[in-house]
Symmetry: C2
Subunit: 325 residues, 2 copies
């Protein structure tokens, strides 16, 4: 049995999900790896970077470290899974990992939307894999689909509901006539919204994701400032009701389209027809709707967030990296 | 530029789509191959097996052959794309291709559902790739999703609308109060149903596909005789209307589930709730709905048939095979 050692950066929502899945599905993953690649391989977490070791009672303490250099210096670690989130120190850590010949898997939409170019450059320069399926629309395998399954297509345009928090809030306002404020409180109670819901409700989170999707579909990194962005904080129950009377629903849509060689993208609450494929995507669900020249229209729907769903996508990237080692 | 030679078996609906896409997207495919793999590769059709060369005026006649042996004997051909369909001679041709060290891509659901075991055995024995994304649900990348993206999941159950013809007919009966007979005639006029719609309306086509999906999700080839199968020919407008009054719609569902280690699968018209994720999948669209232990619920929707959509899936498999050469 070949043991592939990896390091996990961060043990929050995503990191703890990855840790749990790698423990619980160890046998299944080994068996599937063998079936697919005819090799006996196990993926083992060798180090976990955290800030406060005292916080983690259920994790083997010998795995925990507060010193990233220790991970970088360990040449037996082949892959780094970045689950810290945000810009600092995540971006720097990922680049340094690739410079030290470690492949990187990340779920960090902000880092990839803002620093995708230097990150991909570091991966090419060092000949390292850099995968980030979990960064967009959680469990929906949209990046892999665009890169692999739609390789014989030009994507002409796409739209999506790619923020679960705001979809939960709008669904609640639509189906239960809640006010924005009441729906937000409910989302917070159920864990679908953070205490500070800023980047969800103002559209930043969806903006990062549509920028990543645009890059995959159209081949160029976007200047985030060129994306029209409007949040949902001013949507009123009255607007929703009026829309319903006209056979419409209000959804928080991210869109992107290539027009005359230029990418036009936006994030905004929009009225769509009741029969639109995205009209029935409710609650915390995400969905992405693609228009392709050969394959036609495709719709993908799934959980956009949560510990296990996101970690499921991270582990699939990890598995893919190990397959190519 | 490295030239990868392939042979195409059949130039019907799927084969002509593959031929067209490889012509039209040659530059795009080369560029994407280079971006992904840092290699200059072009995929070229070297031979096309057909029955009557006189029928094809728009194809370079030097590519056409009626003699499969010529393809088998040409060691420069690395991949065979089987687009003949049916059992004979497709299954035999695919096995012989793999024995002659040619990788195989197929869109042939009947062959794979009935002879998947010997086909996969031939691929393992000869160390050849055998991919068949296009055989199930056309453009929906469901096989790749199950194999790759959901590798960290046990799929607990799945259901789907995986026959476009019957979904078109039932949608017409539901939304326009057509009789079964009128809807079938309309489907035939629009090219959504064959002159002999037998294997669509009696459920065989969906049965082949759910058997293939079950094998991917649960790891064992099914005995097709164990799948409960009922077609749509006896569905009446009255039943549909009655269902609607109770907030239900009738959809032609394929289902599969592992219960106590045994796979229980069925194909049948069923009443589902108006709010069920499959309730709004209308017209000739296909959809697959998966329940997974970590990723939760996933829905995929797209064109299930047609020349370009199916060929789009075939070419993505072809691309994947060439990436691994």
């Amino acid at each position: 049995m070949e043991k592939i050692k990896i390091a996990l950066l961060g043990l929050g929502t995503v990191g703890s999900g990855v840790h749990a899945i790698l423990e619980e599905k160890q046998n299944l993953l080994q068996q599937r790896f063998h079936n697919k690649n005819d090799r006996e391989v196990s993926i083992k977490i060798a180090k976990i970077l955290i800030r406060d070791p005292a916080k983690y009672h259920n994790v083997d303490p010998s795995l925990l470290t507060t010193d990233y250099q220790e991970i970088l210096d360990d040449d037996s670690i082949r892959v780094v899974v970045e689950a810290i989130g945000g810009e600092k120190p995540a971006v720097d850590y990922m680049i340094r990992a690739m410079e030290r010949k470690k492949h990187v898997v990340s779920a960090n939409k902000l880092a990839i939307a803002k620093f995708g170019e230097p990150l991909v450059k570091a991966s090419k320069k060092n000949n390292m894999e850099f995968l980030y399926e979990a960064a967009v629309a959680g469990t929906i395998p949209i990046l892999r689909t665009i890169k692999d399954s739609l390789v014989a297509n030009e994507i002409t345009k796409m739209s999506g509901i790619i923020n679960g928090t705001t979809n939960f809030i709008l669904s609640k306002m639509t189906h239960e006539q809640s006010s924005y404020k009441d729906a937000l409180v409910k989302a917070q109670e159920l864990g679908f919204a953070e205490a500070d819901p800023g980047s969800d409700v103002n559209g930043d989170d969806a903006l990062y994701k549509i920028a990543i999707l645009s890059r995959l579909a159209f081949g160029t990194w976007m200047d985030l400032n060129t994306i029209d962005c409007k949040g949902i904080t001013e949507v009123t129950p009255k607007q929703i009701e009026d829309a319903q009377k006209r056979g419409k629903v209000i959804k928080f849509l991210a869109r992107s389209e290539k027009v005359d060689g230029k990418i036009i993208a936006s994030v905004s609450p929009e009225e769509i027809d009741r029969n639109h494929p995205l009209a029935h995507v409710d609650g915390a669900m995400n969905a992405v709707y693609l228009h392709c020249d050969n394959a036609g229209e495709l719709l993908f729907q799934g959980a956009g967030a949560g510990s296990r769903p996101t970690a499921s996508a991270v582990v699939s990237d990890l598995f893919a990296v190990v397959e190519r080692l």
